[in-house]
């Protein structure tokens, strides 16, 4: 609503007073203010415990945040079209259970595919309701979230599925010269997700639909297909994330991590992507992920007392965004 995305390089040649540098500098500050907040946070935590920037810790963080980060990639797409996917916590548990179930009953090799197929179906269900029946995505996905959660209970009869074959854990916990496979997948999703968004026709359509649905429709963009596809993508991300977690734990159960939805939403939104749709980008999700992961990791590394963790977390989230907003304001004033 109050978001006014700055056009990098939109400056007119007619302006004489300001130097190019000053102008673009200000624009950069305005655009990338959230990065400043992130850098400050990193500096503070690594002064507190230099191990923060150690290779081992970074690898750990990559593998720990792979499930949430991968789902944040899907959520970025959904939110950019102006949608919402609140079914991811249940969908993720369901996919993890499918992965573990197939890992037990059939073979770990098929677990990944089965979970992705399950995620695909979940996403399709959301897509059909949101663009087919045309129900508000917020409430639709709250509803499907309940349904999927319920299905998972019924399927598991409320017991954990423990996979006896330890090879099942290789995907989630395996490493290559110390670099976790799950971290590679996270980086892959962020990169490919970002490139598709920034460079392809599909990505442009996402922004267009989120920015003005009616104008996009009249321009011949298949609005429903575009919107629906983001839910399917989000579902596939649940499948991947669920498999990684099931593999990391060598087991899965219903209600795996019900609050992961907050993590994922916060990751996307804290970077500055607008919930109104049409504005945001994958690098913002990367920064958001960085901020949230650093906070969570920092609590342990700096051994912050439990009682103060929530206060600190909330203050950092609000503070980072306030800095971002103020940066825009200051830069707009001085740069223009």
């Amino acid at each position: 609503m109050t978001e006014s995305p700055p056009p990098p390089g939109a400056g007119s040649r007619t302006e004489r007073g300001a130097t190019l540098l000053k102008r673009y500098g200000a624009a950069a500050f305005r655009t990338y203010g959230i990065i400043v907040a992130f850098v400050i946070l990193v500096i503070v935590v690594s002064i507190g415990n230099p191990a923060f920037l150690s290779q081992g810790n970074i690898f750990n963080m990559l593998s720990q945040w792979a499930p949430a980060g991968i789902m944040a990639v899907g959520m970025t797409y959904v939110i950019l079209t102006g949608g919402f996917d609140l079914s991811i916590a249940s969908g993720y548990s369901l996919c993890a259970v499918v992965a573990a179930g197939v890992g037990i009953l059939v073979d770990p090799a098929y677990a990944f595919l089965a979970a992705i197929a399950a995620g695909f179906v979940v996403g399709l269900l959301n897509a059909v309701l949101v663009v087919g029946v045309n129900i508000n995505p917020f409430i639709t996905t709250v509803g499907t979230g309940f349904i999927l959660g319920g299905v998972t209970y019924v399927v598991t009869k409320n017991a954990a599925f423990v996979v006896p074959d330890m090879a099942f854990g290789d995907l989630g916990a395996g490493r290559w010269h110390g670099f976790p496979f799950s971290g590679m997948m996270l980086i892959g999703f962020l990169l490919v997700g970002g490139l598709v968004l920034a460079k392809t026709v599909y990505g442009e359509a996402i922004y267009a639909v989120g920015g003005n649905r009616e104008a996009s429709r009249l321009s011949g963009i298949r609005v429903r297909t575009v919107i629906g596809s983001t839910y399917v993508l989000s579902g596939v991300c649940m499948g991947v994330a669920g498999t990684l977690t099931a593999s990391q734990l060598n087991s899965a159960q219903a209600n795996l991590d019900p609050v992961i939805i907050f993590d994922v939403l916060t990751i996307v939104v804290v970077g500055g992507t607008s919930l109104a749709g049409g504005f945001g980008s994958m690098w913002r999700t990367v920064v958001g992920l960085g901020i949230i992961a650093t906070i969570s990791n920092g609590f342990v590394l700096l051994d912050i007392d439990v009682f103060y963790q929530d206060i600190i977390k909330g203050s950092i989230i609000v503070g980072a965004l306030a800095l971002d907003v103020l940066a825009r304001r200051v830069a707009t004033r001085s740069g223009a």
Binding site: P5, P6, P7, G9, A10, G11, S12, R13, T14, E15, R23, A27, K199, T200, V201, Y202, G203, E204, A205, Y207, A208, G211, N212, E214, A215, S216, R217, L218, S219, G220, I221, R222, G278, F279, T332, G335, A336
Partner: protein, 513 residues
């Protein structure tokens, strides 16, 4: 028409209602106003003209407090206004009709007119009084809008009337109108002119912005010209004529408009039969030939927009058939289907339906044909850039502004892009709803030239415009709609302003009789 309005009596100079001194305003990358001086005398109607993007809207937004100026002073009735948003200015007696519609779609028509100043009984809203007053205002302006209608369901013209009613609803001493007639038909325009005349008699001071220079010359006491953010001239109306205004606005001579010529009689491209939209349109049939510009004339609410929407696959209730390439089929049910047939719509509501305001001109102009610019699904920015620049240049849109989010462009420049969107994809039939709304005289010439050229290249264009002169000047044939029915199709030889007017009103007269 001209003869029907009395020339304005020069008003006696009173104390200044508004005084603007050395006001500058810039946006990132654009200096919209440069040291502008401007004076509005009490009781005068002051015309403000200039090219698209000259800074007119910006100036009045500074006046109303919607924007705060970077430098300079604004005084209202001798009091400096500190820049604290629109409230302070409203208190000081300023009302404005903004160029971009500011209706709240989900509120009723009456609530929109009284937005921010509802009639009240204590803390309660007095809806009955509001609806009563709404009807009075409507009667005065000759519009028939239900006070409880949802504003978003009204046509653009009626939404524009709501804006006008909003400005007139309280008795303000200063009234600012930014292109109030852009989407109005002849009837409504006349009523508005009368209203402005009456306001002047009541010593209300008016700033009047329009691209219709005849209108400005008829209505205003003094006229100021803005060019590139600078105030280049202010003079009494007697000192101006149309040519002088144009030359001052553009800084150069206007190129002669393209000579009117008839399209070579092309082959039948599209046959439309029996288009009906329940409650809006009845049984419209016509034939469209390749290479022609087919005008649709009619009064506001006659159903012109509906007809275009029906052909473009976006009017759910529509029925009827199309014959194209020898195949007869029902009207397209989706936009995609219409596009597959080669039919595209440039809608009249540029903000709501035309542009993705958060995206750049590059994106907007090419989004109709992204596949064409992106073999292998990857967008080639180089190709896109050159394609967009060609389009921009042909529409007198400064190609250097293509990178800016379209939401930051002036109204007229946005309109150019709405039309420009289809110049890349090149449909076989282009439906243009009010394509010149808000476009300056210079750019209008360019737009006409483009339309003519497209037609000459074999495209068929259907054009709806509330400016009948425009329709008559440009169209090869004209379909006249009256109250949703087809009054006549005037062929090339039969076309004249008088006939079209007679048809539109004549049928109305019949119906009333």
């Amino acid at each position: 028409m001209e003869a029907r309005i009395d020339p304005p009596a020069p008003s006696s100079a009173g104390p200044d209602a508004v005084r603007v001194e050395r006001v500058s305003k810039s946006f990132p990358g654009v200096q919209a106003l440069k040291q502008v001086d401007f004076t509005l005398r009490e009781g005068e109607v002051h015309g403000l003209v200039g090219e698209n993007g000259a800074g007119k809207s910006t100036l009045i937004k500074v006046l109303t407090g919607a924007y705060s100026a970077d430098k300079g002073n604004v005084e209202i009735f001798g009091h400096a206004v500190d820049q604290h948003g629109p409230r302070a200015q409203q208190r000081a007696g300023v009302a404005a009709i903004y160029q971009e519609l500011t209706v709240v779609a989900d509120l009723s028509a009456a609530s929109n007119v009284f937005l921010g100043r509802p009639m009240r009984r204590g803390p309660m809203v007095n809806r009955r009084a509001m609806e009563q007053r709404f009807r009075e205002l409507g009667a005065r302006l000759g519009v028939d809008i239900q006070p409880r209608a949802r504003a978003g369901d009204l046509s653009v013209a009626n939404q524009q009337m709501l804006e006008i009613m909003r400005a007139l609803q309280a008795d303000h001493r200063i009234l600012i109108m930014d292109e109030p007639t852009a989407s109005l038909g002849p009837n409504e325009r006349e009523r508005l002119y009368e209203t402005v005349g009456r306001l002047r008699d009541e010593r209300t001071s008016v700033i009047y912005i329009s691209h219709d220079l005849d209108e400005v010359l008829r209505l205003c006491d003094r006229i100021s010209v803005l060019r590139d953010g600078e105030m280049v001239a202010t003079a009494a109306v007697g000192a101006w004529d149309k040519e002088k205004l144009v030359n001052t606005m553009l800084g150069t001579e206007l190129r002669a408009p393209p000579a009117r010529h008839r399209a070579s009689e092309g082959d039948e491209l599209l046959r439309v039969e029996g288009v009906t939209v329940p409650g809006k349109l009845q049984d419209i049939s016509f034939v469209l030939r390749a290479g022609e510009i087919f005008g649709i004339a009619g009064l506001v609410g006659a159903g012109r927009t509906e007809l275009l929407r029906a052909l473009a696959g976006t009017e759910p209730g529509a029925s009827g058939t199309l014959t194209i390439d020898g195949r007869t089929q029902p009207l397209p049910r989706t936009v995609g289907r219409a596009l597959a047939l080669g039919i595209a719509l440039a809608p009249e509501d540029r903000k709501g339906q035309g542009l993705v305001l958060s995206q750049s001109g590059f994106v907007n102009v090419t989004m109709t044909d992204m596949r064409g610019l992106a073999p292998g699904a990857i967008v080639r920015s180089g190709r896109r850039k050159s394609a967009a620049e060609v389009i921009a240049t042909s529409l007198a849109f400064d190609p250097r502004r293509l990178g800016a989010p379209t939401g930051t462009l002036s109204g007229g420049n946005q309109q150019k892009l709405v039309v420009g969107k289809w110049l890349h994809r090149r449909p076989r039939v282009l439906l243009m709803d009010e394509p010149t709304r808000g476009i300056d005289v210079g750019a209008k010439g360019e737009m006409f030239a483009v339309m003519r050229r497209l037609a000459d290249e074999g495209m068929a264009i259907i054009m709806v415009s509330s400016e009948l002169e425009e329709v008559v000047e440009l169209a090869d044939r004209v379909l006249v709609l009256a109250k949703g029915r087809q009054a006549a199709i005037l062929e090339y030889g039969e076309l004249s302003l008088e006939r079209v007017l007679a048809m539109t009103f004549g049928v109305e007269g019949e119906a009333a009789a």
